[in-house]
């Protein structure tokens, strides 16, 4: 590695606070959610308490999601979430190729990060899917389960409560898978822990040629 190193201030304070609360909240939601869905009666903690934790964590993550929306609305962070139609599929494919093959064969990263580019294309797509599709759906369906009178009663022959519950768990599952991959991919960096330091202190190492 004979490239010079540089740091960019990628993650402003509000984003780091949002992310911290979000990460802790979602982990709690996943743990309590899985507990609820498994074992009859005797989970780690008593069922009722587990439910309450899940409800409270859900409310906090939902409010926190507003922080994310608002933050992106008023700051320039939103620009990192804009997708260009050109090479819509080619760009993430190239990045995937890099992860699967190139990085082990001395290839340079095809989309080096800079002030203009905070995420590589794959990362961008994943963040958009999770933040603008999965999380909103999980919040809406969660509200539906909490206030079941708001739910449409039936779609064809299937109960609305059931559809809402299934949507909720399916999106919850999707977010869990995202989290696993998110954590793993974040460990690909200057050193495995480097990116995790970034999301705490805000400064991201980039490699300059």
């Amino acid at each position: 590695m004979n490239s010079t190193e540089d740091k960019i201030y990628f993650y402003p304070v509000w984003l780091r606070i949002w992310h911290g609360i979000n990460a802790l909240g979602i982990i709690l939601l996943i743990v309590t959610g899985i507990t609820m869905n498994s074992g009859f009666e005797k989970g780690l903690i008593e069922f009722g308490l587990n439910m309450k934790l899940h409800n409270f964590a859900g409310a906090i993550v939902s409010l926190n999601y507003l922080v994310f929306l608002l933050g992106n609305l008023v700051t320039s962070n939103k620009k990192f979430y804009i997708v260009k139609p050109r090479n819509f599929l080619k760009r993430p494919m190239k990045q995937a190729y890099y992860y699967a093959w190139g990085m082990f064969h001395g290839m340079q990263t095809p989309y080096p990060l800079s002030e203009k580019r905070k995420f590589n294309p794959l990362q961008k797509y994943a963040y958009i899917m999770v933040m603008y599709f999965a999380v909103p759906l999980v919040i809406v369906s969660g509200i539906g389960l909490m206030f079941p009178e708001l739910i449409f009663n039936q779609v064809y022959d299937i109960s609305g409560v059931l559809i809402t519950a299934v949507t909720h768990s399916a999106m919850g599952f999707f977010i869990s898978i995202f989290l696993i991959i998110h954590l793993y991919v974040a460990s690909i960096g200057k050193s495995p822990l480097d990116n995790f330091r970034s999301i705490v202190n805000g400064w991201h190492h980039i490699t300059k040629k």
Binding site: N37, G43, M146, S159, V161, A170, I181, I188
Partner: protein, 312 residues
């Protein structure tokens, strides 16, 4: 003299106004009808013989006075529904022919009871095995005594009480040869034998309503009324036991509203402990999610191994 008259009048008014809003049934022994219809025996003056006779009351005509006083129709007097001619005994034989109002006669299309959805219930009930088999002879009153019914599932906050109340409505007939025979003319199959495949029957019948297994759930009805043929009854243990689906969808909505009614604050809403089955109820989704999970994990492990080998 005048003063005492007006005092008398005042008390008359007072007592009659109290009477209109409160209980007809507080003192059964003095009530026109309950003096006979709440007792094991009744007496009447035999005008023909000039004697006072005492006889046994038909047990099916004895009305539970506690139930009466709590029932939804407690502010009715007997003769609001039954003919006033019943006040004389022996009752006129033609009174048997008197038509009695059904639930729908009074509640059908009435806005003030819209939340109960009487018309929808009627519609659902007409699809049920009972109506299919016996038509209009199987009235709502076969399950719902107009005398004592209370909307328990709606107003109680104890699941055990709700289950008990609801199951008694079915058992009053299915466990009673005579009532059952009254509708069907056949013998009732012993429920214990019919459900012999269900372990721990007693516990189940205390914790789940008959209708939980025997009806098609209608989300927008608090109590689903479409009792289906036995072939369609829930028998798969997994529908309740596989996951922690403490309550099925119908009861879920209920409990949730219920708890909100008691504690509408934000904390109250968040503290509710109700749970409804999610996607793992659908086996295919469960399989798919396991596949995705292991694919992701496998990918990560393989990639990780390569990273270690190449020291990336």
């Amino acid at each position: 003299m005048k003063v005492s008259l007006s005092i008398l009048l005042f008390f008359l008014c007072l007592s009659s106004s109290v009477r209109t809003q409160a209980q007809y049934y507080d003192t059964p022994k003095e009530h026109d009808c309950l003096k006979c219809h709440s007792q094991q025996t009744y007496s009447f003056h035999n005008e023909l013989m000039g004697t006072d006779d005492k006889k046994l009351m038909n047990p099916y005509y004895i009305i539970d006075t506690l139930g009466l006083r709590e029932g939804v129709h407690k502010q009715f007097d007997c003769t609001d529904c039954h003919s006033y001619d019943y006040t004389t005994y022996p009752h006129n034989a033609n009174l048997k022919l008197e038509p009695l109002a059904t639930c729908l006669d009074c509640h059908g299309g009435d806005e003030s009871f819209a939340s109960y959805q009487f018309d929808k219930i009627q519609e659902e009930f007409q699809k049920s095995v009972h109506y299919q088999a016996y038509g209009d002879n199987f009235t709502c009153a076969k399950c719902h005594s107009q005398h004592t019914y209370t909307a328990t599932a709606r107003n109680s906050n104890s699941i055990l009480e709700i289950v008990d109340y609801s199951n008694k409505m079915c058992l009053s007939c299915h466990n009673d040869m005579r009532r059952y025979g009254l509708v069907s003319g056949q013998e009732n199959p012993a429920l214990i034998d019919v459900h012999s495949w269900l372990p721990n029957q007693e516990l189940h019948f205390k914790h789940v309503r008959c209708i939980e297994c025997h009806t098609a759930v209608e989300d927008d009805l608090m109590v689903s009324h479409n009792i289906r043929a036995k072939e369609e009854a829930v028998r798969r243990c997994a529908e309740c036991h596989s996951e922690n689906s403490l309550l099925k969808a119908s009861l879920y909505k209920y409990q949730n509203l219920q708890e909100r009614a008691e504690d509408g604050s934000i904390i109250g809403v968040l503290s509710n402990e109700n749970y409804v089955i999610g996607s793992h109820q659908i086996p295919i989704l469960r399989t798919i999610s396991l596949l995705i999970f292991f694919a992701a994990l496998g990918g990560i492990i393989i990639h990780g191994i390569f990273r270690i080998i190449y020291k990336k």
